[in-house]
């Protein structure tokens, strides 16, 4: 918008914007800058948790505003690395939410059995704990040999950990409890070798897993799957991005394929809802019917 004298016209703005909307503006500028400088796209992330994590990084850097943080991450790629770690939430555990695995055992495994070859996409797999959990369960059900699991994440650093399949030994007590609650049939310790403070998982579990970088925000579908697992990833996206990713899952699922979401994620408020029927209400397991 330009007036005849060449001076840009000034739109009316209130003199003192409240702190919140100013901060929101700064967040938009930072995510835009990060996207154009580094290609990481956080522009459609859910604002409340994005704000929180940016403020945390800002304090960690000893800075006084989001704008100052923007300046630093644009000029200093090491600061960007630190921000990236703060922005990727990597909370996971083996057999996390054991009842989910129970429900997969009882409601999904029988469906998977009907296919001669089974492709599973675990989107947002983080350091891989839940992927190995799925592999263990499939092995116990005698299905693992005809499965291929594609485990993807945006973050190459966590994938590198996932590929190794080495987890802290201290966590195994918790995980054993989860495994048993999930309906595990063997001794959990059969699946790993303890080595000093680490548990090294049997490499056989990894044979049919492909770990690969995939960005749900920018990348498209890469196969047709019988099951897609994406738990507690969508909650970090805003509604538009959630819609886009759910559409991507729809396009990537075979008819009668199964979608598994996090315990408090739901298709109810989304446009893809009519494409699915509910397989298990509490554990958010859906089957694509259209």
């Amino acid at each position: 918008m330009t007036s005849e004298t060449g001076t840009p016209m000034r739109e009316r703005r209130s003199e003192e914007p409240d702190v919140t909307s100013l901060e929101t503006l700064e967040i938009e500028l930072l995510t835009e800058g990060v996207y154009r400088r580094y290609g990481f796209d956080f522009r459609d992330y859910s604002l409340p948790s994005l704000r929180r994590r940016l403020l945390k990084r800002m304090q960690g850097e000893g800075l006084g505003s989001i704008s100052a943080l923007q300046e630093r991450v644009l000029h200093d790629s090491a600061a960007m690395e630190r921000l990236l770690l703060d922005l990727s939430i990597n909370v996971t555990a083996m057999f996390r939410d054991p009842t989910f695995y129970q429900a997969v055992r009882s409601h999904v495994i029988p469906l998977l059995r009907t296919w001669p070859f089974i492709r599973i996409w675990h989107a947002g797999c983080s350091t891989g704990e839940e992927v190995y959990s799925m592999a263990i369960m499939l092995a116990e059900e005698g299905l693992y040999d005809r499965c291929r699991i594609y485990a993807t994440d945006i973050n190459e650093a966590v994938l590198e950990k996932a590929r190794k399949g080495i987890f802290p030994l201290a966590a195994m007590q918790d995980y054993t409890g989860n495994y048993l609650k999930a309906g595990g049939r063997n001794a959990f310790s059969d699946y790993y070798t303890a080595n000093y403070e680490y548990a090294i998982f049997n490499s056989k579990l990894r044979e049919n897993i492909v770990f690969a970088q995939h960005n749900l925000v920018t990348d498209s579908t890469f196969n047709e799957f019988h099951m897609i697992v994406c738990r507690n990833v969508l909650i970090y996206f805003n509604r538009e991005l959630q819609e886009r990713v759910l559409k991507l899952f729809c396009d990537s699922l075979q008819r009668f394929g199964v979608l598994g979401l996090g315990r408090k994620e739901s298709l109810r408020y989304t446009s893809v809802n009519p494409c699915y029927e509910i397989l298990h209400e509490d554990e958010r397991l859906y089957r694509r019917i259209a």
Binding site: P48, R51, R52, I89, L234, Y236, E265, T270
Partner: protein, 206 residues
């Protein structure tokens, strides 16, 4: 005619959301408040009660018996609606966005997930002066900094009088921070909610 002005330290007139934080002893305190709440109040209520990560629907069921509000665990993207009580689900943080709730699994804050601070902070950002916060009994410091954020954003903040709290540490921390608009006995809190959540029909223009 009713007086049109409210008492000295004002609470937000007709807030659009009430957020409540509580920990040890919280269930009993919540029951007391909810049973006393007047029948024609329907402001949406979001609650972060510290709970174990494996906790079942027990909390929902118990609270449901104390109120005619519909009580449920909040889901991601669930619209914030009147006549509803939304609980922070076990093992998730509950965040308030623009008309909807968001969930997060980021690390515990003050060893807690759900965290009261996160609920309060996000609600303060989203609702500003249209927010009423309430901090009840609890044994740690969660909620104090969130309560300050509510105050700074122009919202009102009721804090349970530590004398009436099963665990006084949490309300005490918030009072020491200077976050309380009012410090009230547990029995007075429902009435304070009633008094600012005026019914639209009876009170006209504001």
């Amino acid at each position: 005619m009713k007086p049109r002005r409210r008492p000295a330290l004002p609470l937000p007139p007709d807030p659009d959301l009430v957020v409540i934080g509580c920990s040890l002893g919280g269930l009993q305190a919540l029951q007391k408040i909810l049973t006393r709440l007047s029948d024609d109040v329907d402001v949406p209520i979001a609650i972060a009660q510290h709970r174990h990560r494996d906790s079942s629907s027990m909390l929902t069921d118990v609270l449901q018996r104390s109120t005619r509000y519909e009580v449920s665990d909040a889901e991601d993207q669930e619209p914030i609606r009147r006549g509803r009580i939304f609980l922070a689900p076990a093992d998730y943080h509950l965040l308030v966005g623009d008309g909807v709730f968001h969930l997060s699994t980021e690390g515990p804050v003050h060893y807690s997930r759900p965290s009261i601070d996160l609920l309060f902070e996000s609600a303060a950002e989203a609702f500003g002066e249209r927010l009423l916060g309430i901090l009840l009994t609890g044994a740690n410091r969660d909620g104090a900094s969130g309560a300050m954020r509510i105050r700074r954003a122009g919202g009102g903040m009721l804090v349970q009088d530590p004398k009436t709290a099963e665990a006084p540490a949490m309300p005490t921390a918030a009072i020491e921070e200077g976050a309380a608009t009012r410090v009230l006995l547990l029995e007075e809190i429902a009435e304070a909610i009633d008094s600012c959540c005026v019914r639209r029909e009876s009170e006209g223009v504001r």
